[in-house]
């Protein structure tokens, strides 16, 4: 198997080669209709060494991680795990897919927030996420979109102006540092024919 597929198998704790393309993953996927390339096609690309096409496409960023594909696979291929592995590789390589931008910015803002506080501060997350999207897209409607929701949440005691912090925040920071460092270095390269 080519190196990237091996790396994906290891990250997802699965064997992509097992897939025989029955399409059950795609049949049950709640967002398949939003994907240009549905789950079974993404798995096929990994099998035939065309990982770059999956990394550059938008489809992996539509996945809502509901686990239906992995649950129903008759060959126990962890399809949702493969998509997570592809997303990790795409982020590490900064492979570009326009539609992924907001999702990645959101997940990065989320992790940044946890790394700093140990727990999520929702208001902080919203502020960071909206600011990051604004500087990428310069979209004022998106910046203001949930402005009316804020007061309604506040009224219900659902917005906390200051988020919770854990006592041992340095420990959390060390955990993050070790994990991000322990990622396999020098990831396998895309095969030449895959470059655009």
């Amino acid at each position: 198997m080519e190196p990237l597929a091996t790396q994906i198998d290891a990250l997802a704790h699965t064997h992509v080669r097992e897939c025989y393309q029955c399409g059950k993953c795609t049949a049950g996927c709640p967002v398949a209709e939003r994907m240009a390339n549905p789950p079974n096609q993404i798995i096929r690309w990994v099998q035939i060494g065309q990982v770059g096409r999956a990394l550059r496409g938008d489809s992996i960023w539509e996945c809502v991680s509901c686990q239906t594909c992995s649950t129903r696979c008759p060959k126990s291929v962890n399809c949702a795990g493969v998509i997570d592995a592809l997303r990790q590789l795409a982020v590490e390589r900064a492979a570009d897919a326009p539609a992924r931008r907001r999702v990645v910015l959101f997940q990065k803002a989320f992790l940044h927030n946890i790394r700093r506080n140990g727990r999520l501060s929702e208001l902080d997350l919203v502020r960071q996420f909206k600011t990051a999207v604004f500087f990428k897209d310069l979209s004022i409607p998106f910046l203001l979109k949930d402005a009316l929701l804020g007061p309604r949440m506040f009224q219900r005691g659902k917005l906390h102006l200051t988020g919770q912090k854990v006592r041992d925040r340095e420990l959390v920071d060390r955990i993050f540092a070790r994990c991000l460092q322990s990622t396999p270095q020098a990831p396998a390269e895309l095969s030449p024919e895959e470059h655009p």
Binding site: R34, V103, L111, R119, I175
Partner: protein
Amino acid sequence: MEFGYYPGCALHGSSNDYEKSVRACLAALGARLRELDDWICCGATAAHVINQTLAVALPARNLGVAERDGLASVLAPCPMCSMELLKAGRMMADDATLRQTISDIVEIPVEGKTEVLNLIQVLQRIGLDTIKEAVTKPLEGVSAACYYGCLLTRPPATVRFDDCEHPSSMETILEALGAKTVAWNYKTECCGAGMTMAGEETVLDLSNKILANAAAHGANCLVVACPMCHVNLDMKQADIARRYGHAHNMVVYYLSDLVGLALGLSKRDLAIDKHFVVK
């Protein structure tokens, strides 16, 4: 009966109505909760998208603390938290090399022997007979669509709970309390989960289908056991109405809300007055 307790970020944030409901309901049943000391976020929707090691380490740290403090069973009322804790626990128990690597990363030994429970399992532990005996106001007039969403039953090898295609554990509890439940199609379909902000269109589309299917099968309320499901199906109902031109006006209860009401607790005790759709 005492359980360890991992609230998770949502229950200490905007889903504090769920925490109030869980605490009130379980207290009324005589169960005590011991919150995990200095717990940290499980990584939720973000860690597994960005880094697989982090996605194991964050929940594993909490399991290590539970083991150190002698908490054999831990309630995690958020299915995202409980699934991540269970997944990390199984990986620790099954893989000695990974166990050592992760224990070093999180600075505490983690064996993965903690039993992680969702809210339904805790109610099952307390026992249907005990709950039935405590009922003072049977749930008359309730026709509930029990909604399990994704992670209460998936992935089945990880969570090992109920039937992943046709779960019925919530129905069993609610019917024992006098409620009717409906047979419907979207019990285990996804509501979009943590994509509420980053992929709102997806959430509105999926949640709209769930609400419509519940109504079409005669439900007068939805019942969930997940903070994210509640956000998408309750808080987002106004956005769904704006987008699809149809107001479902469907009340969405947490399971602990309905159990609590049957035990005679008030809507305020259970923070039902904090929901967005209120009847």
